[in-house]
């Protein structure tokens, strides 16, 4: 019941919205997030109690004891000091803090196992300025800015950085973990609810820190298997013909794109995201743009305007060639 009150308060204070903000921390969808939320409710309970107590005492004191003017002629009031009071407001908060510390320590250890649980899915996440490289080492899957997880199965996300410190945060799946060069970190959790969850880099990492977003899809086991199976395929090779897609394929293979990007069987650049199954992703450009032909065209024409500091250069291509590339990339299922 008290949990309900706090949730209600949080909703009201959160702005009386019926639709929940997509990155809210109050909608736990994994075991890690649930333990955190439950601890949060306890602490906010104590905090609210203390705040109301202090507020009431202050207001009471102000109303009861205020005078109209500086009464210099009045005899000054006498201060009665009572040791019991000082003991009470020392011991009281200490007891509250113990009540908070115990579940805190328990949850801290529970959420950070030293080794992955048996049967866990391993996902290697490498953070770059300003995109997320995602690799499934046991499943030969390589993608970017998108992670698929099977519901109900433990997952161990290994976090590494290719350049500076980033932070991996999917609020609905739990707290964040920094991604530190030279200091691999891991998050272990069990996603509990099928759905799509937004994530974002949460450690200032330079010019386009705000543009370093990603999505986590928690799928049913069947959907996950299907996705894995598809991602593991070698990729679509366009049938030789005169259409835009083939023209785009030819253009790609002979352009600087190949230096930075990999497409299975075509190029093996490692500086930017792998594009083999590009068309299966819902977003691109660090999760900031929906994967539509219009957005893709805009991006190819001027990456910098979408993501300041983006390492992808302006290609300076005529519109016809941009269309060819867009068509080709759109065919990469």
């Amino acid at each position: 019941m008290s949990r309900g009150i706090v949730v209600a308060l949080a909703t009201v204070l959160g702005g009386c919205r019926t639709a929940e903000p997509p990155m809210t921390t109050f909608a736990p969808k994994s075991d890690f997030a649930e333990w955190t939320y439950s601890l949060y409710l306890q602490v906010i309970g104590w905090d609210s109690f203390i705040l109301v107590l202090v507020g009431l005492l202050l207001v009471l004191a102000l109303f009861r004891y205020s005078t109209r003017a500086l009464g210099k002629s009045e005899t000054p009031p006498v201060s009665r000091e009572r040791v019991e009071l000082e003991v009470a407001w020392t011991v009281g908060p200490a007891l509250v803090l113990i009540a908070i510390a115990i579940p805190t320590i328990r949850t801290t250890f529970r959420a950070a196992p030293a080794v992955a649980p048996a049967g866990a899915l391993h996902v290697d996440v490498t953070a770059h300025q300003w995109w997320w490289e995602v690799r499934y080492p046991d499943l030969a899957v390589l993608t970017a800015n998108e992670i698929h997880l099977p519901v109900g199965r433990p997952v161990r996300l290994e976090l590494r950085s290719a350049d500076v410190i980033h932070s991996f945060w999917v609020p609905q799946l739990g707290g964040k973990r920094d991604v530190v060069p030279g200091h691999p970190n891991a998050i272990t959790l069990v996603p509990r609810v099928v759905g799509m969850y937004l994530g974002q880099c949460a450690e200032f990492c330079g010019l386009s820190h705000a543009n370093m977003r990603f999505r986590v899809f928690v799928d049913s086991p069947d959907d996950f298997q299907a996705w894995v199976a598809h991602q593991a395929t070698p990729g679509v090779m366009p049938v030789a013909s005169e259409d835009l897609v083939t023209a785009g394929a030819r253009l790609y293979a002979t352009s600087p794109c190949v230096t930075c990007h990999a497409i299975n069987g075509v190029s093996s650049g490692r500086l930017g995201p792998d594009l083999t199954h590009f068309a299966t992703r819902t977003t691109f450009a660090g999760g900031t743009l929906a994967n539509t032909p219009e957005n893709l065209g805009a991006w190819l024409r001027d990456p910098e305007s979408e993501k300041p500091g983006a390492q992808m250069p302006r290609l300076g291509l005529p519109p016809a060639q941009v269309s060819e590339l867009v068509a080709y990339l759109g065919s990469l299922r």
Binding site: P21, W89, P171, R213
Partner: protein, 810 residues
């Protein structure tokens, strides 16, 4: 200028504000004038930092806004934080209020080192100017006020932006350290007769603990910045993972400074509240001993919590839990303060003056900030909240709701004493209520934004995230906050010209500053008070008839007061440092010129006839130790942390070099043992030099001083040989982790020895010139303390770097 003339003319009698002209202000060593200079400068930067914040808020008012480019946004949020912390809150708390009020509160005529005080101000101004020059020369710093490595490496931040940041903070840190030494010695040594520690005003207590934090925390930042400077300018890799180093080292060094730093900002505000609330409750501060002890406890515990800024870094659940517990522990003494203030008001006769309102506001707002802090201490919750707008809310509740509210309270409280005029109370109340609306409206919604997943330090956010409403509310409220500051400025403007004269005691105050005129005369007290209880002025006015608790006045006649003589050297020295800073971002030759100017200024400083305070410290030396000796010990304290940070860096990186040569291959323990022995013998000669001068044997003393210097030179020659030898063996500065930590640690120690040798030679020269008689033996003793300290540091370095290497296997 006309306003200044108006204030000066309005003073009934000559005060510290009158006389001397512009030159008088430029060469002043009067703590009250220096306080005013600090106050004016900090106020200007408060406006600058505030405008920066408003610009940020405009950008965030709408999703995908294009008001500010990403790079500009990053510069503005970096400078907002850096400015508010280093150029506003700390200068107001230390430079303005501690400077102005502490000598008055303890019944002193000035601080312990008046010229050092002036130097602190001018170096502060130099640092502030240098930092802001970046806007005009290549762009302001843009990696956050916390500058996390390795984003701050030259590779990822190629411009001069961060060079300005590193050098600017080093300059500012110097200023703060000098203030720390000055105020520490003042509080310990210059309290009026009878004012024991447990009778001092609570603001003085909080400042005592604050300066201890300054002395023992800033050096960690200094070391972090120096290592970053070396990475950016000299190709080392202190924070680069590929050579075995770690960017997390920066975080440890930074937060070892950074957490005490937030208490450096909070404690003075608590002290102000502890002055203001009793006065306007007409009751003494409740539970004074517990307040004093809890202040000291907060200071002590603040060194044990730094890891709570790093819960997301992955230190492991054991370390995380330990820091969680210590962070929760520090909430207990803070809670004691909150309840104590309420208990002070309870049963009192409250006057709702503006000063009182802001202190009451502090109690409430800091409670909110402290409670959200407890949420952050709970590690799993922190992992959701950190690096989101939740922590932005938390930090502003404690730093604005705590520190700035405290500063406003102090401003309204001490304004009459500083200027001789009262601020208008109606405008003051308007300022207060606009602040309450604006502040809470800006920052309370940020709790929700953070809980709803909005990360911090982002220049834009997408639509449809549910963040639009609260961002707009925060922006509008921020402008209300801006209006509230405008109200304050109007108040200041109007009352400076025609405000009511304040008189000595407009508030029916409790402490000694209200016993003297407003504004005070240059020398503060004609006759120094002798104190017998807390709240001595209150005891004078309302105390029992028996004189047991009432203060009296010393019988000393007025003609023993020597007005402090002004000095040019502070401003010249600061100009030298500014020049050196400019050289750091332009050309090396300018650095040399700048340091040259600074060194000349130091020499001039040293040989100048000191201001009166430094001569007469013996009369009221409450601790029984000369001011200068206490000062050098305070300095040694901060130097200990400096070397401890460098030594820790060496030990942390021990064995992590990716390439050779390593210590085992290259160190020559026998040779270094000899030079260590030489250095230890030099300490013996130092002892003999001091003994000689104390018994008046000047020739003998000269011989021993030069002998000490000579042995020091032998040690340095050994180091020079060692360095060149290692270099030829393939150990350059940038070779590996061992080389960079070794050369940096031993190099800085060598620099300290060099300064010591120069000092010794200068003393010998003074002795030759007949300027070092027996009664000036303190000068030799000070050098001796420094010299022995440098020796002891070498013993530690020699043991940990050389001996352990020779003994251990790996």
């Amino acid at each position: 200028m006309a306003v200044a003339r108006r204030i000066l003319d309005g003073a009934a009698e000559p005060s510290y504000l009158t006389g001397g002209g512009l030159l008088g202000w430029l060469t002043t060593v009067d703590h009250k004038r220096i306080a005013v200079l600090y106050g004016l400068t900090a106020l200007v930067f408060f406006l600058v930092g505030g405008v920066e914040a408003l610009l940020l808020r405009v950008q965030l008012a709408r999703p995908d806004n294009t008001f500010l480019a990403a790079g500009t946004y990053n510069e503005l949020f970096t400078m907002h934080g850096t400015t508010m912390i280093f150029l506003v809150v700390m200068p107001l708390e230390l430079g303005l209020f501690t400077n102005f009020a502490v000598p008055l509160l303890i019944g002193a005529r000035d601080v312990a080192f008046p010229r050092l005080n002036a130097l602190s101000y001018w170096v502060f101004l130099a640092g502030a100017i240098f930092l802001h020059a970046s806007f005009f020369f290549g762009g302001a710093p843009d990696a956050g006020w916390f500058g996390y490595a390795n984003l701050t490496e030259r590779y990822f931040s190629p411009g001069t932006n961060l060079d300005f940041w590193v050098v600017g903070l080093l300059i500012l840190g110097t200023s703060t350290l000098m203030s720390g030494i000055n105020f520490g010695v003042t509080i310990v040594n210059m309290r009026a007769p009878g004012m024991t520690f447990m009778r001092m005003p609570m603001f003085v207590w909080t400042m005592l603990v604050t300066v201890a934090l300054v002395l023992l925390a800033f050096p960690a930042l200094t070391v972090g910045l120096i290592l970053l400077l070396m990475d950016r300018f000299y190709g080392t890799h202190f924070y680069v993972a590929t050579v075995g180093a770690s960017p997390v080292l920066w975080q440890h060094l930074f937060w070892l400074f950074g957490h005490p730093e937030v208490y450096i900002m909070a404690l003075p505000a608590f002290g102000i509240a502890s002055e203001v609330i009793p006065v306007f409750s007409r009751k003494p501060l409740y539970g004074y001993p517990m307040m004093a002890y809890s202040t000291a406890l907060i200071g002590f515990l603040s060194y044990g919590v730094w890891g709570h800024h790093m819960f997301a870094v992955g230190m492991g659940p054991a370390a995380d839990s330990a820091f969680a517990v210590t962070s929760m522990l520090i909430a207990i003494p803070t809670g004691i303060k909150i309840f104590t203030w309420i208990a002070t008001m309870w049963g009192g006769q409250l006057s709702m003056t503006t000063a009182f309102l802001f202190s009451v506001g502090l109690v409430f707002e800091f409670t909110i900030g402290g409670l959200s802090g407890i949420m952050h201490a709970a590690v799993p919750i922190d992992l959701q909240q950190t690096d989101s707008y939740f922590v932005v809310a938390h930090l502003h509740y404690v730093l604005f709701g705590g520190s700035v509210f405290g500063l406003f309270s102090g401003l309204y409280y001490w304004w009459p004493k500083i200027t001789g005029r009262l601020l208008d109370e109606r405008l003051g109340r308007l300022h207060f209520w606009l602040t309450m609306v604006g502040f809470n409206g800006t920052f309370f919604p940020m709790h929700f934004l953070g809980a709803e997943g909005m990360p911090r330090r982002i220049y834009r956010y997408a639509p449809g995230m549910g963040w639009e409403t609260w961002n707009l509310v925060a922006t509008v409220s921020a402008f209300i906050l801006g209006i509230s500051v405008a109200v304050l400025l109007v108040n200041i403007w109007r009352t400076l010209r025609r405000g009511l004269p304040a008189g000595n005691d407009p508030w029916d105050g409790r402490t000694l500053e209200w016993w003297i005129p407003s504004p005070p005369p240059e020398h503060n007290f004609v006759r120094l008070p002798v104190v017998r209880a807390r709240d001595p002025f209150w005891g004078l006015k309302y105390g029992p008839q028996a004189p047991a608790s009432r203060p009296t006045l010393e019988p000393a006649p007025p003609d023993t007061i020597h007005p402090p003589s002004g000095s040019f050297f502070p401003i010249v020295l600061a100009a030298g440092l500014l020049l050196a800073g400019i050289g750091a971002v332009t050309r090396l030759a300018v650095v040399a010129i700048g340091f040259g100017v600074a060194v000349l200024a130091v020499v001039g400083f040293a040989f100048e006839r000191p201001a009166f305070g430094e001569d007469e410290s013996g009369e009221i030396a409450a601790a029984g130790v000369d001011n200068r000796k206490l000062g050098i010990w305070a300095f040694i304290g901060s130097e200990s942390i400096f070397f401890a940070s460098l030594i820790s860096t060496y030990l942390i990186y021990k064995g992590r070099s990716v390439t050779g040569p390593g210590p085992q291959q290259i160190l020559e323990v026998p040779l270094t043992s000899f030079s260590t022995f030489v250095l230890l013998m030099s300490s013996l000669l130092m002892v003999l030099a001091l003994a000689a001068i104390q018994r008046g044997a000047e020739r003998s003393s000269r011989r021993w001083l030069l002998g000490t210097a000579g042995l020091g030179l032998v040690f340095l020659a050994g180091q020079a040989y060692e360095f060149t030898h290692f270099y030829h063996e393939g150990l350059a500065l940038q070779t590996n982790l061992f080389s960079q930590t070794f050369y940096t640690l031993v190099g800085f120690h060598g620099a300290h020895v060099t300064i010591g040798v120069l000092w010794l030679v200068a003393l010998a020269a003074a002795s030759f010139a007949g300027k070092l008689p027996a009664r000036s033996s303190l000068a030799v003793e000070l050098c001796g303390i420094y010299w022995h300290f440098v020796d002891i540091v070498w013993i530690v370095i020699f043991t940990l770097v050389y001996l352990l290497e020779g003994v251990s296997g790996a």
